[in-house]
Each structure stands twice: as structure tokens, then as C-alpha cells.
């Protein structure tokens, strides 16, 4: 739209026609206060804080409902305006409890800030305030009516943003009150957006309330450890006896692609990290089957010696390694390097939740066609095949809903279930679960399966009119089906694709070569030349055993040792414990999982919130993982791999080339400022001195990843600044993934489960318990 020119506080501004005055001012750096206005949500004009003087208008105007117009002359600060805002705050404070010293929002309360700014510090009222008792609406949502200023942000974000509509308004006038959808409690997706968006302390979080003050926490911006959307989250961390405790998750700095969005898991399910039953010292299994605490040296010595002996006597092929979908890229990479160079085996795998190799191989010839999660926010049209984003990819669902609502994007979805997103869909096609492949053939023009199906024909017809589209598909698609899907999609003039996997770094685990047949960057193990050159070592050239084959081999007594890093394959894959009785098992994990129970050595591991590195979401967006703090008694998987190699007598410098590149240490591991480390490195090199960096520096490995995996060779500055970078997805080496055994096992997580981590989240359990007690319809209905 054409730009209009107008004047605000004597400054001449231009903005596109139709821009709201409040937005135009904010963009120009002129702050206009508002409680009810919230970008992206419907307009209210209710709080009257954003009043400004527009010339030629008789009354003060609300900047949040006034579009800019040519020649408009606006004053945003004057005694008259300040008085109007002050009076509004005075009226609010009349009923608002002045319990700021104990209120959860104290220190980060918009009402407090406005009172400070406009100086409404004297109360003229002597009457008693209207009072209502505080209510608990769910295990995680509490509501304190007296503190509520009725800005309706929560009502709108729940309805418009989440499409849940669990909050409404009861009564009128001064008796008006926000109310939950089930009389006295909420039945909803428990996303906590209402709490996050509340400008005051009216809605508080069951996990955070009254635990601490905002200024007593440090705030660490990192990546959520749950699903594969990779939301950025700001963890509120405070000191505790054993190092640190995470007390809050939100995204108030809105710096990530998820803006301020987090789902229940990102916002609350960090409590596993502080569980009492977390393993905090190495354990060795005794002959009687009991675990006995050991020192780090005892445990690592024992594990290292055993591993070395097995490797030397029975060969690397008798050892298996299972990695995790929730470790960093550097750890996944290091684990495969450890397996291939130290153990000499290609028997390495992880719990695969999507067929990334087939996807990336099929995309290879199509150029940069992989969609970032950001693409869903402004795509003209979106096609979702399979998956249930609302449950498994809450951020994706949020992006789609907002895009449909604010930009009138068209959503097409085909699914074997009535997924909730169909409410936003222009076209929805319900198909049989076995027909996902046939659907692609139909969309591409083959009539067979859907012959005579008018719905399907209409769906295809509408789809054919689209010129610019983003296609996301779930684990229903693998191998040849993915190839067919990409071939069909390539017919759109402008298209991008996304493959939906399940866990925080599932994509990274796959990209980093936790696979028996593929090296990092999907280089076949048969063509490992560049890797051997970089590693200065020979690599096994034949494909190893995958997850299922390893457990089969164990059952036959052919797997002498198994090293499991932060995974629970025994539970996930339903492995018979007896199969592992003759296998020497090393497990590093947070908890005594089903797999850990069978271990000979257990090494206590840190989780994603307690380490630094990078992680890749399922859309190929690379982000920095920052350490929230150290937990006493545990070590990162990275640390443990390096130490294990060392205790096996391996030269750890050949494993982690620390000090090798000048880019290596960004200060992450030593707590120095990043620039400082770089200057230090330059100085050392100039004087022919060796850089004394740490062997536990993940960025030494990240350097190596960038050298060997072209897709990850991205400019690092943006990444280091906390931004996301989209991978160069066309740089894989394999031609097809369709001939491989995909072994994809979808997690089938819901909004309230999260694999192993979910099992150890008390909060997620309590939410599920509370839902069982009121078994009415689910939020999705």
C-alpha cells in the first residue's frame, strides 16, 4: 500500500496507509503506553492508555485504533495526555491490590511501570477494594481477580492465537471478571500464553509463582529441549545447593522465530532437571545386581578398560553405539567420531522419527527448497500432509493459525484424523491411513485410489490454483513416498518443503551421522575420504548395524558392548532385557531409565539446558544452545565421550582438535567474552604459542563440522548473536534415501507427553492427572 506522511511530536513520519498510529509511532521510536493493545491480536480500545491528541479531532484519540492518514498531526505527550493516562491508572489502582512486594509480576509489571512513569502515587479513595479470592484454574494456571486490569489480552491470545477459546468474560461493569471455560477450572492446551501475556500479576504460573523475584534470576536464552520445532526459550535460573535451578521458562525477549510463543512443555516442563531421583554420581553394577556409587575415575577407568579390551579382542564390529535426539550437534558429531575412530565401528544409530536422508536426497536437485519455520509465518498457502501439528508441532500450528488469521493464508490439510487445524483449513481431506502415498499420486494426476471422490477432486482443484506454497509432511511419508511428494511439489511455481520429525535435535542426530550407513552430512560410509583426511585415521567402510540389528545381535550374543548416550532404546523399542545380559552396557543419562537399569556402568549426564552447543530443528534452522548453569555431579555428553576416550588410552586431541582453529573457542566453555578469546588466539599464534583451549570446547568440534558438512558452513556471527540460521539443505552427498531401511518410529507424543523427558516431568503428569479427573471433551474439540 502507498505510504502516507504525517507528523508526530513535530517529527515527520511515513508509514504504509492503514498502519495503526501506535505501530507507526513505535517503529519510529516513540513509545505509546498500552495495556490492551497487543500486536497480532484484535483491537480493543479498552484501556484508554494510548490516548493521543490528533489535530482537528474534538476528543483525545486512541492510537491503537486510529490508522495513520496523510497530513495527520499528532501529539503523544502533553500535560493533557499525561493527565488522562494518570487518571486511568489512578482508577485502576483504586481496586488493584498494592501488594507489589509479594506479587509475582513485581519488577516486570506493566502497571507498575506506567504508575512509575505517570506518577499516580496518591490514593484518593478510602472505600474498601472489590475483592475476590484467588482461584486455581489448572495445575499451572492461577487467577487473582483483584489484580486483573481487564485488558482482555489473555482472552484474545487464547481464542485468536491458540484457537482454544477457554477464557471469557463474566458479569459486567466493575464486577466483570475473566472466567475459565469449565465453571471453576480450565480445560485447554495449558500453553500458558495467558500467563505470559498478562501485563500484571493476575494470571500466574503454578510452577513459578512466589518462588523468586525476577531480578534474582539470571535469564538464559536457549533452545527448548522438547519437540523438534526448536522454540527459543528464556530460562529463569537461580542458584541452588547443587548448582542451579530452572524456575521459569518464557520468551519475554521475543528474539526467536517463535516470538513470544511457547507451549506447555517449553513453558513448564523443565522440572525434570531438578528431580530428586536424578543420578548425580557414577554407578557401577555389582555382582549382586545392585548399583554402587563410584568415583568418576573408578567408573571411567572401568568402562574405558572394558571397552578397550573388547575392541582389541573382539573387534569394533562387536560394539554398538546409540545416540540421542536431545543432545547437541557437537555431541552427536563427536559420538559418531568416537564410534568410528576410537571404537572402529559403524554400528551406530539413534531413535529416528523422520526419514531425513530420503527427504534431503530428494531435495538435493531442487536447490534451496527446504522451508524454515519462519516460512510458515508468511506463506501464501500451506499444505500439511499427515502429522497433527497442534499436538506434535505446537509452534508450527501457531504460525499457521496466525498466518491464516492475519494474512488470510490458505491452509490445505490431508489427514487420517480430524486434526484441530482443519478449523483453519480452506481445504481438508480425510483419507485412510494407508493412502498417504496414493494421495500424492492422485494430487499428481493419477486417479486410481481417489476416483469418484468429489472431496478429493475439489481439494486437488483448489490446490492446483496455488502458485506459492509451503508443504509440510509427517512421518507418514518415507522413502519413495517422499520422493514422489517432492516430485509432485516441484510442480508448483514456488514451493518449499518441511519434513516433520519429533525431538529437539532429531534433525541434528541425523545430520551428524548417528546412522550406520551415513557419515555427517549424509556422506556414505563407503566414500569417507574427506573424513579420513580430516581425522587422520582409517574409518570402517561398510555399513554397520542399525538399532534393530544391534539388539538382534545382542540377543544372539554377538554384541559384546553397547554404549548408550542419553537415550532409552530398551523402553522405546521394547527390547527384551534378557537380550542384553551378555553385553557390556555403558549408559549415560539423567535417570535410571529402563536401559540404565540394565547397565554395567552408569554415567550421570547433563541435559540440553546444562550445556552449550548448537541444535537444528526439524526445519533445518540452526540455533545456539546456551548453558543455563552447572549441576553438581553431572557432566555433559560431550565431556563424557571425551573422558571415556581418554580413559581408553586414546589421544583426545585427535578426537577434539582443540586449539586447532582460531575460531575454536568463543568463550563458551571458559566463561570469557567471545571477542577476548579470539584476540587471545591471534596473539598466541603470532608468538608461535599453542592455544590452550579446553578439550571440552564444543566449538572446536563445530569448526570441524563446518569444515566437513557443507550444509552447516554458515556465517557464525548471526548464530553467536542468538539468531537462527537456515541450513543450506541442497548440499547432501547421497542421491537417494529410498533404498535404505528407514526404521522411522514416530514418537506419537501429544501436547502433554515428551518421550523420556516427559516421563520425568512431574508437571506434565499433574496436568494429565487433572484432565483425567474432569474427563469432558478435550481442548481440541
Amino acid at each position: 500500500m502507498a505510504d502516507v506522511t504525517f507528523t508526530v511530536d513535530g517529527k515527520q513520519l511515513t508509514a504504509p496507509k492503514g498502519t495503526l498510529l501506535i505501530e507507526a509511532c513505535r517503529k519510529a521510536g516513540i513509545e505509546i503506553p498500552a495495556f490492551c493493545y497487543y500486536p497480532g491480536l484484535s483491537l480493543q480500545g479498552a484501556c484508554r492508555m494510548c490516548v493521543v491528541r490528533v489535530e482537528k479531532m474534538p476528543k483525545l484519540q486512541t492510537a491503537c485504533t486510529t490508522p495513520v492518514a496523510d497530513g495527520m498531526v499528532v501529539t503523544t505527550e502533553s500535560p493533557e495526555i499525561a493527565q488522562a493516562r494518570k487518571a486511568t491508572i489512578e482508577l485502576l489502582l483504586g481496586n488493584h491490590p498494592l501488594d507489589c512486594p509479594v506479587c509475582d509480576a513485581g519488577g516486570e509489571c506493566e502497571l507498575q511501570d506506567m504508575t512509575f512513569k505517570y506518577g499516580a502515587h496518591q490514593s484518593q479513595f478510602v472505600e474498601i477494594k472489590n475483592h475476590r479470592e484467588e482461584q486455581q484454574w489448572s495445575p499451572v494456571v492461577y487467577f487473582d481477580r483483584p489484580r486483573c486490569i481487564l485488558c482482555y489480552r489473555c482472552v484474545r491470545v487464547c481464542g485468536e492465537g491458540m484457537d482454544v477459546w477457554a477464557l471469557g468474560i463474566q458479569n459486567r461493569g466493575s464486577g466483570a471478571v475473566i472466567a475459565p471455560n469449565k465453571q471453576d477450572h480450565l480445560e485447554c492446551e495449558e500453553c500458558g500464553m495467558c500467563i505470559d501475556i498478562c501485563p500484571v500479576g493476575a494470571l500466574t504460573s503454578g510452577t513459578y509463582r512466589y518462588k523468586t523475584r525476577p531480578w534474582e534470576m539470571s535469564h538464559v536464552s536457549t533452545v527448548c529441549t522438547h519437540c523438534a520445532d526448536g522454540c527459543k526459550t528464556t530460562l529463569g535460573v537461580r542458584r541452588a545447593d547443587d548448582g542451579m535451578e530452572i524456575v521459569r521458562g518464557d520468551n519475554r525477549d521475543k528474539s526467536g522465530f517463535n516470538n513470544d510463543f511457547l507451549c506447555i512443555k517449553g513453558r513448564y516442563a523443565f522440572d525434570f532437571a531438578s528431580r530428586e531421583d536424578r543420578i548425580t554420581q557414577p554407578l557401577l553394577k555389582q555382582p549382586d545386581g545392585q548399583f554402587k556409587p563410584a568415583t568418576w575415575d573408578e567408573a571411567l577407568d572401568f568402562a574405558g578398560k572394558q571397552l578397550r579390551e573388547i575392541r582389541d579382542t573382539r573387534g569394533g564390529k562387536s560394539i554398538g553405539v546409540i545416540g540421542s535426539t536431545r543432545i547437541t550437534n557437537e555431541e552427536a558429531y563427536l559420538l559418531q567420531k568416537f564410534a568410528r575412530t576410537v571404537l572402529g565401528t559403524n554400528n551406530i544409530d539413534h531413535h529416528r522419527t523422520a526419514d531425513y536422508p530420503s527427504f534431503l536426497a530428494a531435495l538435493k536437485a531442487k536447490g534451496q527448497k527446504e522451508a524454515s519455520i519462519r516460512d510458515f509465518a508468511d506463506a501464501k498457502a500451506i499444505l500439511v500432509l499427515g502429522s497433527d501439528p497442534t499436538e506434535q508441532h505446537p509452534l508450527l500450528a501457531w504460525q499457521i493459525r496466525n498466518n491464516v488469521r492475519n494474512n488470510q493464508a490458505r491452509l490445505y490439510a490431508a489427514n487420517h484424523q480430524d486434526i484441530k487445524l482443519r478449523r483453519q483449513a480452506t481445504g481438508f481431506l480425510k483419507i485412510q491411513q494407508e493412502n498417504y502415498g496414493a494421495l500424492i499420486a492422485f494430487l499428481a494426476g493419477n486417479e486410481k485410489t481417489f476416483e469418484g471422490n468429489a472431496n478429493a477432486a475439489g481439494f486437488r482443484e483448489a490446490l492446483r490454483k496455488e502458485e506459492s506454497i509451503v508443504i509440510a509432511f509427517g512421518s507418514e511419508y518415507r522413502g519413495r513416498d517422499i520422493e514422489a511428494l517432492i516430485a509432485f511439489g516441484a510442480g508448483f511455481p514456488n514451493v518449499k518443503f518441511a519434513c516433520l520429525g519429533d525431538y529437539a535435535n532429531s534433525r541434528g542426530a541425523s545430520d551428524m551421522g548417528l546412522l550406520p550407513d551415513l557419515l555427517p552430512g549424509y556422506v556414505p560410509v563407503t566414500g569417507a575420504g574427506s573424513f579420513m583426511q580430516e581425522y587422520g585415521a582409517a574409518l570402517p567402510q561398510t555399513a554397520g548395524m542399525d538399532m534393530v540389528q544391534m539388539f538382534d545381535a545382542a540377543g544372539r550374543g554377538e554384541l559384546a558392548a553397547l554404549y548408550v548416550a542419553s537415550a532409552d532404546p530398551v523402553k522405546r523399542f521394547g527390547v527384551d532385557p534378557a537380550a542384553l545380559k551378555n553385553t557390556f552396557l555403558i549408559v549415560q543419562d539423567m535417570f535410571l531409565t529402563e536401559t540404565a537399569k540394565l547397565a554395567d556402568v552408569i554415567l550421570p549426564a547433563a541435559n540440553l539446558y546444562e550445556k552449550a552447543g548448537t541444535a537444528t530443528n526439524t526445519y533445518g534452522d540452526l540455533q545456539l544452545v546456551k548453558k543455563a548453569g552447572d549441576k553438581a555431579g553431572v557432566r555433559s555428553d560431550f565431556d563424557l565421550i571425551v573422558r571415556l576416550a581418554g580413559h581408553m588410552g586414546h589421544d583426545i586431541k585427535s578426537l577434539v582438535p582443540f586449539g586447532k582453529g582460531l575460531l575454536a573457542d568463543f568463550g563458551q566453555s571458559r566463561g570469557t567474552q567471545s571477542g577476548e578469546a579470539d584476540r587471545h588466539a591471534v596473539w598466541l599464534t603470532a608468538h608461535q604459542l599453542e592455544l590452550k583451549a579446553s578439550p571440552f570446547d564444543p566449538f572446536a568440534i563445530f569448526d570441524e563440522i563446518q569444515r566437513l558438512v557443507p550444509a552447516y558452513d554458515l556465517p557464525r556471527l548471526d548464530l553467536m548473536a542468538g539468531n537462527d540460521e537456515h541450513l543450506k539443505s541442497d548440499l547432501v552427498q547421497i542421491q537417494t534415501g529410498a533404498t535404505r531401511r528407514d526404521l522411522v518410529l514416530p514418537s506419537n507424543d501429544t501436547l502433554f507427553t515428551s518421550g523420556t523427558l516427559g516421563e520425568y516431568s512431574q508437571m506434565l503428569h499433574s496436568v494429565m492427572e487433572s484432565r483425567k479427573q474432569s474427563p469432558a471433551e478435550t481442548a481440541a474439540d
Binding site: 493527565q83 487518571a87 482508577l91 483504586g94 459486567r172
Partner: protein
């Protein structure tokens, strides 16, 4: 059936069928009913609008916006259907005129809707009745059913190619819904809170379609304009204030009631002659000229003509025509409290100044009336009212603030007489019911 009263000065235009059994469709037809709409079928839409403009008819709901001009804002072409909406949510204290129209002359409302429909090209109308007017629903619904049965509504009305549907709907008892955009929200089945404007209803109103929303009296006047002629109707009133309107006289009067008088009729005459003066030889203390939201007038201010412009010049508003007369026995603080209690109760709660302001005004006035206030509390009441004025989302806040500010300004002495523990000089025993509710 409400008791009907009259006076020689009454000019029965709107009320000409009152008391004549015109709720019956045959009787209505005998009394020249549905003749105006037949005339309009012969006219171009613009000609209909021009007639209404010529008549000088201004909105009877309170704001006094020229009806013909409002109609002319509706775009000729519209992708969405257009609607005619009758605001029969008569809730302003002191106002009781629309109920007489619904009771005595329901077909005039239907006929008015049909004419408005022809003028702007709408094919559907809604008659929204106040929730408390339960007894009128039957009358109105029967009138609509009769009109359908005679072919005046439905497909091909009056044997023409025109179609028109009317739906009668009631509110749930909220004053706020008398505000036009809140009424549309309510009609759409939502919470009755006002909408952001623009867009104005004439452009995007009910269900997003262009909508004419008129007060019941305004729409019921339209057929009469075509019955007696626009120029003739305009000539009954004063300049820019055409015709007559129903004045609702209440309070301390010998003969309270609803009287149809020409616009610009002298207020003093209205009280002392039409209303029969103050009973029991008491003296006049104050007059609320146009419903409870209009600023009060002192006895020396009432020698004015009752039309929109003259009352505005006197510092008040003609409003909805609800004239409330108070004699010397009335405690003005108590009256202010009565008034604000109504607005506090009816505030929808949407915006802060109205929601919190009415609540604090009620609390402060309650305390003041009981004698628990000191001097600065009077200023505090004035301060709240001043800071509500013009700052609220819809006019309800103004409706509460304006009279309060006027009470304080014009009767400050009476407020001061209540201070410092003295309490109410008019009702020495505190009215606990009033104070605590």
C-alpha cells in the same frame, strides 16, 4: 394498557393512533395504515431519503443525528446484505415513549422499517426490543405475523417484486445494548459491548453488512412523514428540528405522562401547563431535560425551547425526551447517587474509565450522602467525572460523568451540607438500603 393522557397543546402525529386499537392490523389499515409504504413503492430511493431529509427528522434516541443523512451514508452497492435495525432497547431512566409505540402502534414500526428498506435497498429488518419489555414481545410478534399473513412481509410484498423479512428479537436487560454497536453485537449473539468505530454501521454493521440503525420512535415517525407530507411535518417544529416528538414527563408533576409536543416547545410551559405544575404547592428545584444522562437544569434555566439546539445552548441535552422534574424535597446528593448507581450497574466494564470510574463515583457518593466525606471529596468526585468525560470507549461513560459533574457544579452547597458527619439534611435517618446496595 398504559394510561394515556393528553393536553390541548398535544399535536398527535406519531401518537395519532394511540388508544385506537391500532395494534390490530385491520384497525391500522382503517387508520391510513400501510399507505405511506405504498406511496414509497412509486418513489425512487433517493426521493425517499430526500423526503426524510426535508422533514428535518432527527434521531429520537438521544444524539439527534439527522435521520435522512444517516440513511444517505449507506452505499448503493454492497457485496453483503443490508439491514434495517430498530433500536427498541429503551433503557434511559426517565424515558418511556417507545413502549407506547410498540403497544399502541406496532405496525407503524413495521411500516417505517419497510420504507427505510426501500430507501437503502435492504431486504431484512430486525426489531430489537428491550429485554424487560416482555409484555410487548407478544404484541410486536403478532403484528409481524399479521403483516406476513397479509403479504406485507415475506416474498413479493404488497404484490410488488420486493421481498422483505422482519425478525423480532429481545435483549437480556442491558442498558449498554442501547448503544448501537453494542446492540449489533448482542443481536449477533455476542456479549453486549460496543464496537470500535470506524467502520460505522452504515458501512459495516450487523454481520458486516451496511446497516441503518434507528431508534423506534424515529422509524415509527417515518410513515407519518409520508402521511402528512415532509414539509408539513417539518413546519410543526423549529428550524433544523422538524416535527414533533414524544416527551415523557415524570417526577413531581400533577399530570405526568407521555405527550406528543412540537419540537421547540417551551420547557417551563411543558412543566407548568402540560404537566400541571408541581403538586402540593412545592417549589421546583431542578429539571433533568432529556433522560438521566443529561446535565440537570436549574429552575432559572428552564425557559427554553425543547429542541436539540436550544437545550444544548443551555448546557444540557434534549436526549431521549425524558423530562424528570424534581421539587424542593429532593436531596440532590441522593439523586446524584441514584443516577450513578444506575450507570455503575449498567457499565459493561469494557473500558477502564467507565468501569472503574462509575464504581468509584458510586462509592464516593454513597459515603458523602451518609456524611462520611470531607471537603476534598467533593473535588474528588468532580475529578473522577471530569476524567471520565470524553475518555471512555462509548458514550455510557459520558452519560454517567456529565450529570454528576453538573450536580456538583450546580448544587455544591447541598453537597457541602452533607460533609463532616452531618449526613443527609433531607433524610436524617440514613437510607441504609440505598447506602449499602
Amino acid at each position: 394498557m398504559a394510561y394515556l393522557t393528553t393536553h390541548p397543546d398535544v399535536v398527535p402525529v406519531i401518537s395519532f393512533r394511540f388508544g385506537k386499537g391500532a395494534a390490530d392490523i385491520d384497525r391500522y389499515l382503517e387508520l391510513d395504515g400501510y399507505k405511506s409504504v405504498r406511496k414509497c413503492f412509486e418513489m425512487e430511493p433517493d426521493a425517499i431519503i430526500n423526503e426524510v431529509k426535508t422533514s428535518g427528522l432527527r434521531g429520537r434516541g438521544g444524539a439527534g443525528f439527522p435521520a435522512g443523512m444517516k440513511w444517505s451514508f449507506v452505499p448503493k452497492e454492497s457485496a453483503k446484505p443490508k439491514y434495517i435495525l430498530v433500536n427498541g432497547d429503551e433503557s434511559e431512566p426517565g424515558t418511556c415513549k417507545d413502549r407506547l409505540i410498540f403497544e399502541h402502534d406496532p405496525h407503524s414500526v413495521i411500516e417505517g422499517v419497510l420504507i427505510a428498506g426501500l430507501a437503502v435497498g435492504a431486504k431484512m429488518g430486525f426489531i430489537y426490543l428491550r429485554g424487560e419489555y416482555r409484555f410487548l414481545i407478544e404484541i410486536m410478534e403478532k403484528a409481524v405475523a399479521d403483516a406476513y399473513q397479509r403479504g406485507f412481509l415475506g416474498k413479493g410484498i404488497f404484490g410488488t417484486k420486493h421481498d422483505f423479512e422482519i425478525v423480532v428479537q429481545t435483549g437480556a436487560g442491558a442498558y449498554e445494548v442501547g448503544e448501537e454497536s453494542a446492540l449489533m453485537e448482542s443481536l449477533e449473539g455476542k456479549r453486549g459491548v460496543p464496537r470500535i468505530r470506524p467502520p460505522f454501521p452504515a458501512v459495516a454493521g450487523l454481520y458486516g453488512g451496511p446497516t441503518i440503525i434507528n431508534n423506534a420512535e424515529t422509524i415509527a415517525t417515518v410513515p407519518h412523514i409520508f402521511r402528512i407530507g415532509a414539509k408539513e411535518y417539518a413546519a410543526l417544529g423549529t428550524e433544523r428540528n422538524g416535527g414533533t416528538r414524544l416527551f415523557c414527563l415524570s417526577g413531581h408533576l400533577e399530570k405526568p405522562g407521555v405527550y406528543e409536543l412540537p419540537m421547540g416547545y417551551n420547557l417551563k410551559k411543558m412543566i407548568y401547563e402540560v404537566g400541571g405544575g408541581i403538586p402540593n404547592g412545592k417549589k421546583l428545584k431542578a429539571v433533568v431535560p432529556g433522560g438521566s444522562s443529561t446535565p440537570v437544569l436549574l429552575p432559572e434555566e428552564i425557559d427554553i425551547g425543547m429542541d436539540f439546539d436550544q437545550v444544548a445552548k443551555a448546557g444540557s441535552m434534549l436526549g431521549s425526551g425524558g423530562v424528570v422534574v424534581l421539587d424542593e424535597t429532593v436531596c440532590m446528593v441522593e439523586f446524584a447517587l441514584r443516577t450513578i448507581k444506575f450507570y455503575q450497574h449498567e457499565s459493561c466494564g469494557w473500558c477502564i474509565p467507565c468501569r472503574e470510574g462509575t464504581d468509584w463515583l458510586k462509592k464516593s457518593l454513597t459515603r458523602l450522602h451518609m456524611g462520611g466525606a470531607v471537603d476534598k471529596d467533593i473535588d474528588q468526585i468532580k475529578y473522577i467525572a471530569d476524567n471520565m468525560l470524553g475518555r471512555t470507549f462509548c458514550p455510557l461513560g459520558d452519560a454517567a460523568a456529565m450529570p454528576t459533574a453538573a450536580f456538583v457544579k450546580k448544587f455544591r452547597k447541598e453537597f457541602e451540607d452533607h460533609l463532616n458527619g452531618k449526613g443527609c439534611p433531607y433524610h436524617p435517618a440514613p437510607d441504609y438500603e440505598l447506602a449499602t446496595v
